[in-house]
């Protein structure tokens, strides 16, 4: 591989430097870095918003904010975390690692790649601008409907809804562009000899995600566009008074929304087995079984959407169908869990930070999946729907299953990307603080939900006070612990112990054959895979 590097050393000089480099770059590593940086910033922004919520919920009664502002924070927090933190993080890894893992010189459509990224900052501004505008007396703040945009509230809401709709349009275009690029890269740019069934698992996770994205994001775009025309151009798609049907919106939204949860997780399910095999020092168990499970989950995910509104008055046959199909998803998911555990089984395991996050991830994500099964029961969901139980469920899947998975990936690949080892002590501290405070934040929310505390309400009955206080304190610890993560990343980028090419003793795959950090242009001559 070193010959390749030497031969193309001269190209290194012809890319612009400074700000222009980042604005115009089509290099997959630059773009990956921008995605990851953007994601980290938005993670902190979205996190601060929810700390505002937890501060208000610290005690019963209204202390800090008006209910309307509370609702705005909740909705924008979710949109930012899903579209501006979790999705860009996964796309960032895809840009950085997919070409390296499949032995390609770059992504297939580099120019598209650049646009895909630069649509993100404007949409983040669109999402948050209404907060600032409201300070100057323009409009009444951001979208206050929660991230789900349900009419009639979203038809009646202020300019915040319009801003959020346009932001979703931009975010949608961005992820569709990113997905097309990934699909083309994976189909056309693999190193000679790498058949689809020899692709790294991360590539498989992303391939299914990308197809889900291009199939469902347009449905979301369509739904919010209908909302926009209902608001301003006199159509009545969802306005009951004009003959529309608000339930139709729920169908459209969740036709996107449920696949979206797997869109967020499939890339993580891709690299988790790679981390597991590295730190268990044995090949991953059940490659084929995992790939087929990905397919099964991808296919099932588009036919179960109505479990998000069991209580909206669906007819009984529909309730039964959506209940059983939802529960069926846990079968391929169980196959995945089995493979992950079997990969570790009798391996010679070591617990560096990426592995700690991964093992913690398996347990916590497991709790998320199990509580999902509880919610999938129509009879039980009548009680739990719109309660804090749901909030706790999806934070076990999205914070533990999503964000903590991404963190495992960051610690795993950061030495490869920067050429420096991160501070292992701080990494471990970050893990333990995160894992413990995460559980202390969300376990009380399960019980609050079981006891009947509704979500998205700024005040609550007195009997909920203790658990909310525990949850709020833990949430602040959780939030502050992330500063360790940020510090660790920044200091690793700046310097630190030199990382070897292989970085981890048990690491296998093409990306570990390149120097750390890899040269600006890598694999200009494709390696041959046997």
């Amino acid at each position: 591989m070193s010959t390749t590097v030497a031969a193309h050393h001269d190209e290194h000089a012809d890319h612009p430097t400074g700000m222009m480099r980042w604005l115009t770059t089509t290099n997959h590593k630059d773009i990956g870095t921008m995605y990851l940086t953007f994601s980290l910033i938005m993670f902190l922004v979205g996190g601060s918003m929810i700390l505002g919520i937890r501060a208000e919920l610290f005690q019963p009664g209204l202390q800090l904010m008006k209910p309307d502002f509370f609702n705005q924070l909740i909705g924008v927090h979710a949109l930012i975390m899903i579209f501006a933190a979790l999705m860009p993080a996964a796309t960032g890894f895809a840009n950085w690692m997919l070409p390296l893992q499949i032995g390609a010189p770059d992504m297939a459509l580099p120019r598209l790649n650049n646009w895909g990224f630069w649509l993100l900052p404007p949409s983040a501004i669109l999402l948050t601008l209404p907060f600032t505008l409201a300070l100057f007396g323009i409009g009444d703040g951001a979208l206050a409907t929660g991230w789900t945009f349900y009419p009639p509230l979203s038809v009646q809401g202020g300019i915040g809804v319009d801003f959020a709709i346009f932001a979703v349009h931009l975010l949608g275009i961005s992820s569709v562009l990113g997905s097309i690029n990934i699909i083309v890269t994976l189909f056309n740019m693999r190193a000679p000899g790498m058949t689809l069934m020899k692709m790294p698992m991360f590539a498989w996770g992303w391939l299914i995600t990308a197809f889900l994205l291009i199939a469902t994001i347009p449905v979301l775009a369509g739904a919010v566009t209908m909302l926009l025309t209902d608001r301003h151009f006199g159509t009545h798609f969802f306005d009951a008074a004009g003959g529309g049907d608000p339930i139709l919106f729920q169908h459209l939204f969740w036709f996107f929304g449920h696949p979206e949860v797997y869109i967020l997780l499939l890339p993580v399910w891709g690299f988790i087995p790679q981390i597991l095999q590295t730190f268990s020092r044995k090949p991953m168990y059940g490659y084929k079984a995992q790939v087929y499970s990905f397919w099964a989950i991808g296919a099932l995910s588009v036919v179960v959407w109505a479990h998000h509104f069991f209580t909206a008055g669906l007819p009984v046959p529909a309730l039964l169908y959506f209940m059983y199909s939802t529960m069926a998803i846990s079968l391929p998911l169980a196959v995945l869990f089995f493979c992950w555990i079997k990969t570790m089984w009798r391996g010679s395991m070591s617990f560096e930070t990426p592995m700690l996050f991964t093992v913690g991830w398996i347990i916590l994500f497991g709790i998320g999946g199990l509580t999902g099964l509880v919610l999938a029961d129509v009879a039980a969901d009548a009680q739990y729907h719109n309660s804090y139980f749901v909030v706790a469920h999806f934070h076990y899947t999205l914070f533990a299953g999503g964000i903590m998975g991404i963190m495992a990936g960051v610690y795993y690949w950061l030495p490869k990307m920067t050429g420096h080892m991160y501070n292992e002590k701080l990494g471990k501290l970050h893990f333990w603080l995160t894992a413990i405070s995460f559980n202390l934040t969300f376990i009380p929310q399960f019980f609050l939900g079981l006891a009947g505390m509704p979500r998205r309400i700024p005040d609550y009955a007195l009997q909920f006070a203790e658990f909310n206080m525990i949850s709020s304190i833990a949430a602040f610890v959780l939030g502050l612990s992330q500063l360790i993560f940020v510090y660790n990343i920044i200091s690793t980028v700046r310097g630190g112990k030199k990382a070897t090419d292989q970085v981890w003793e048990g690491a296998e795959g093409l990306e570990w054959t390149l120097p750390s950090p890899p040269p600006y242009h890598s694999f200009t001559e494709q390696p041959v895979v046997k």
Binding site: A108, I217, P218, A240
Partner: protein, 137 residues
């Protein structure tokens, strides 16, 4: 001029770039397809509800129940209400605010619609029933 991908004069890289663009555009068709699907779902939704009868809404089958069994042991009170879209120049209200019927009995009720503008106005009335399980069938 169209460039043939198999043209030997093209370098490996050029050939691959073309193939990438081609596949990229194919993917755009999927995107367009699902956008069309999203809008098609609006009429499809109504059609599906009608065909399968999976619907909490009213339908016309009540009038077909001529020799339905009437349950003469119970009374049911049905209340009527109406609302008009803001901006539609109509008065529209039920002429009776509620009726008492035996379950299974067919009744006729009257609604009055009045145009309160000086122009001709077309409007559409959308019936609905709650609770959703108590359909007009």
């Amino acid at each position: 001029m169209t460039i043939d991908i198999k043209d030997d004069a093209l370098s490996m890289t050029e050939r691959r770039n073309l193939a990438n663009k081609k596949l990229g555009f194919k993917m755009v068709w999927i995107v367009i397809g699902s956008l069309v699907f999203a809008f098609a779902l609006v009429p499809l939704y109504d059609v599906l509800c009608t065909i399968t009868g999976l619907n909490g809404k009213t339908d016309t089958s009540a009038s077909a129940l001529k020799n339905n069994k009437v349950d003469s042991t119970r009374w049911v009170t049905v209340q009527f209400t109406s609302s008009v879209m803001p901006g539609l120049g109509w008065n529209f209200y039920p002429k009776q605010s509620s009726i008492k019927v035996r379950p299974g009995q067919v009744e006729t009720v009257l609604f009055e619609a009045k145009n309160i503008t000086s122009q001709v106005v077309a409007g559409q009335a959308i019936p609905s029933v709650t609770p959703a399980r108590q359909r007009l069938t």
